[in-house]
């Protein structure tokens, strides 16, 4: 059977624009959340977010590094983030100079939950104010979700499967799981897999605020607003960015002497069949996804050392925790579980990919990132290590990443150290 390993990583997040910066900031317990700077929020209910920082910031993002000037002008930021993160992953994997034969067997699976909302908003205003004759000719292909995968394939000449998942906040996890299956199924030897999002714009913030999904009570204390499992949590903080990993068939990676971070050993998917935004109150769908992933991985509850929770800092956190307990045991069989959304916010379609990369790095460095702001743990959290406040050194051989999305879509991915 073909095995799938991770050989390259790329990140653009509110905590930095390269893997080592993001990871060291995350482990140090820093927060990427702050007041929204990109537009006037005076009439918005939610005024904070995890923005990707500008170039001149200590850990800012420089789009000129990997994204052509013309492409930057034509596309929405989620595509810019995806191209850069994919470029980082390719460089990390040492795949900058692939032969034509390799490129025919290398594909892309980078999705997004929402896509080009900022551009849809601004061009709608152009349409209303100046008429159809002023709408940009790049409007459509600069906003489409699958142009993440399209742009990456064009830039790097990748002619394998070109796929793009759209499953709201499970997008990143599904993208990685689906891409791993494509390699297992012999559709490709290499897949760039991940997710990207950028909807920190007026209609994006207003829409989620109207759906009562966002934190609106801590606008004056942004770094403390995302507080998964804490009694004071009351909505997620929006983040943005992208995470992309290089997935590669194991023998292919070994043959070229690639650095191997971890193996993708399990992938589970399910639907809640319950409500458009609320999770099933018993977390049945989450449980099904985790159980499927464990079964595929041939692992038991005691084999998981770290769970990167979906944990959005909403009421749903304890529903997820109850489901995790049913799968792993009341004490999670000794596993640690944290929500890194406490530090970077919720990257929506990018979240699952970024968090999968955190699982891979936890396995690499034998350290688990913290859940920030967990001052007053909610009922049901007793006896569970939610890694409050500070990162923790510990054995991490296998890590599970959970992602759940609007519409009741669930995905779990398990990564394991390669011996």
């Amino acid at each position: 059977m073909r095995r799938v390993v991770v050989t390259g990583l790329g990140l653009v997040t509110p905590l930095g624009a390269d893997v080592e910066t993001v990871w060291s900031n995350l482990i140090a317990g820093k927060s990427g959340i702050g007041p929204i700077t990109r537009f006037d929020v005076s009439d918005q209910k939610a005024k904070i977010a995890g923005e990707v920082k500008p170039k001149d910031h200590e850990w800012g993002f420089d789009p000129d590094k990997r994204v052509d000037f013309k492409v930057q002008r034509q596309v929405d930021p989620f595509i810019v983030y995806a191209i850069d993160a994919a470029g980082q992953a390719i460089e990390d994997a040492g795949l900058e100079h692939m032969s034509d034969e390799m490129k025919e067997r290398a594909g892309v699976s980078i999705g997004s939950g929402i896509g080009g909302l900022p551009g849809i908003e601004s061009e709608s205003l152009v349409l209303a104010e100046k008429g159809p004759g002023r709408v940009s000719p790049h409007f459509v292909h600069g906003r489409l979700i699958n142009l993440t995968s399209g742009q990456v394939s064009i830039k790097y000449g990748l002619m394998g499967p070109n796929h793009s998942v759209v499953t709201a906040c499970s997008t990143g996890a599904h993208s990685i799981g689906d891409a791993a299956r494509m390699i297992k199924d012999d559709d490709a030897d290499i897949m760039l897999a991940g997710g990207a999002e950028s909807t920190i714009n007026p209609i994006g913030i207003a829409g989620f605020a109207q759906a009562k999904a966002l934190n609106m009570s801590m606008n004056d204390d942004p770094t403390r607003a995302s507080r998964p499992y804490d009694k004071g949590r009351d909505g997620f903080v929006m983040g943005e960015g992208a995470g992309v990993m290089v997935l590669e068939e194991y023998e292919h990676a070994k043959a070229r002497g690639a650095k191997i971070y971890a193996e993708v050993v399990g992938y589970g998917l399910s639907g809640d069949a319950y409500h458009v935004t609320a999770p099933h109150p018993e977390g049945k769908g989450a449980e099904l996804a985790m159980k499927m992933a464990l079964r595929k991985a041939h692992l038991g509850p005691g084999d998981i050392d770290y769970v990167n929770a979906h944990g959005t800092s909403t009421m749903a956190d304890t529903i997820e925790l109850a489901a995790v307990k049913r799968v792993l045991g009341d004490d999670l069989s000794g596993a640690s579980m944290s929500s890194t959304k406490s530090a970077i916010g919720h990257l929506l379609g990018g979240a699952g990919a970024v968090e999968a990369i955190f699982c891979v790095l936890a396995i690499r460095d034998q350290v688990v990132p913290p859940t920030l702001n967990l001052d007053d743990p909610d009922e049901g959290t007793e006896g569970v290590d939610l890694v409050p406040h500070h990162a923790k050194k510990r054995k991490v051989k296998a890590a599970l990443s959970n992602s759940f999305g609007f519409g009741g879509t669930n995905a779990s991915v398990i990564f394991k150290k390669v011996d």
């Binding site: 052509d68 000037f69 013309k70 002008r73 004759g133 002023r134 940009s136």
Partner: protein, 78 residues
């Protein structure tokens, strides 16, 4: 360079991200400046905005060089 040529050059530089000295009046948008057909649609829109002229599709299709654009604008601006 005329005022119109100056402003045309500036728009082309901004939209295509090319060096200003490459944007000569003889330069072809597609062959010399790396534009595609959609870039030309966008440039024509920018010229219309900047100069308050209307460049109909059949006229836009004949604009191949920077000089063609400058000439059309000079002849049609109010």
């Amino acid at each position: 360079m005329s005022d119109t040529a100056d402003r045309v050059q500036k728009i082309v530089v901004e939209h295509l991200g090319v060096e200003a000295d490459k944007v000569t009046q003889e330069a072809s948008f597609i062959d010399d400046l790396g534009a595609d057909s959609l870039d030309i649609v966008e440039l024509v829109m920018a010229f219309e905005e900047e100069f308050g002229v209307e460049i109909p599709d059949d006229a836009a299709e004949k604009i191949a060089t920077v000089g063609d654009a400058t000439k059309y604008i000079e002849e049609h601006k109010g």
